[in-house]
Subunit: 180 residues, 2 copies
């Protein structure tokens, strides 16, 4: 079992879902801390059915369209719970080409460097707005226990992007001063 299959079990545990629903969730709510391609998701769904960790019912939509709605089996719930209580792995390592290039920044002209920082800031800011909008839907005082994870993860994403933005601004300022 890979982590993606546990992620799928966890999502189906929250709610009965179709493969299409799952793909949407991976592109949206979960995108900050896990990613999966549509083809991977459908491959995993087949495996999880074969292993009797999930099951599906077929629902007819409109005239001819069939869709499979997946739910967890008791064995699937057990497997999810066992994975949930496993020990945490080491901190994840990220790969970031922007930072790699900054490490070699003596090879960039001030103009090139400025452009790279501006583009990065724009990208971070756009993502920050997206998460901030979602976070604004919550009122911290009335978060339901079953939404606590979602809420905290959104807060984490916003906090992290805000600190990245500040770092980008301060770094560019520092480099500009250094090169004067």
């Amino acid at each position: 079992m890979n982590t993606l299959s546990y992620a799928i079990l966890g999502l189906i545990d929250k709610d009965q879902l179709t493969g299409y629903d799952l793909t949407k969730i991976f592109n949206d709510c979960v995108a900050d801390f896990w990613s999966a391609k549509q083809s991977q998701i459908y491959t995993e769904l087949k495996k999880l059915v074969a292993e009797e960790l999930i099951e599906f019912k077929v629902v007819i939509q409109g005239e001819v369209l069939e869709k499979k709605i997946y739910s967890l089996t008791p064995k699937g719930k057990e497997t999810l719970l066992a994975w949930m209580s496993e020990e945490e792995p080491p901190l994840p390592q990220s790969k970031d080409i922007f930072k790699l290039r900054l490490y070699f920044s003596e090879n960039l002209s001030p103009k090139q460097l400025q452009e790279k920082f501006e583009n990065r800031s724009k990208a971070v800011f756009a993502l920050l707005l997206r998460y901030q909008t979602k976070l604004n839907e919550y009122c911290p005082e009335t978060v339901a226990p079953q939404s606590a994870g979602d809420y905290l993860l959104l807060k984490g994403a916003v906090t992290s992007l805000e600190s990245q933005l500040r770092w980008l601004e301060e770094s560019l300022e520092f480099l500009n001063k250094l090169r004067k």
Copy 2:
């Protein structure tokens, strides 16, 4: 050419290095934003020599030990510079099992959740100390232009880990209050 090969070109451009030096750098200075296994590094070195982007001289160390010291060829420098000025890719996506489990936190007991947060905080704190110690070697007022990238990346790592720690503390507090 994959990103690892450009990373190797950039590092050899900074200084003439052996494969052993490179492995050490990947485990240390570069670890926050790129990772590579020793075997991958040696495979890339061979390819880069075959493509005439780097060359080496053999130096005898002690009685019998030979070591290869790599340096950039003019073609290698050109290739590095072309990559440096390429457009930035989209923001990197990270995969984080801790956050994935937090998303499914309704399946964890308060004690399990508390333990997960404490372990994560310990890991983040240990890494923060490591980067903070390195950052303390710099005096911001006298950073040399060729060290500006290193300095800013260390500062970025420290800023990010500090904001993660704050988020972990606040999140645990939030969850404890919610469950009372």
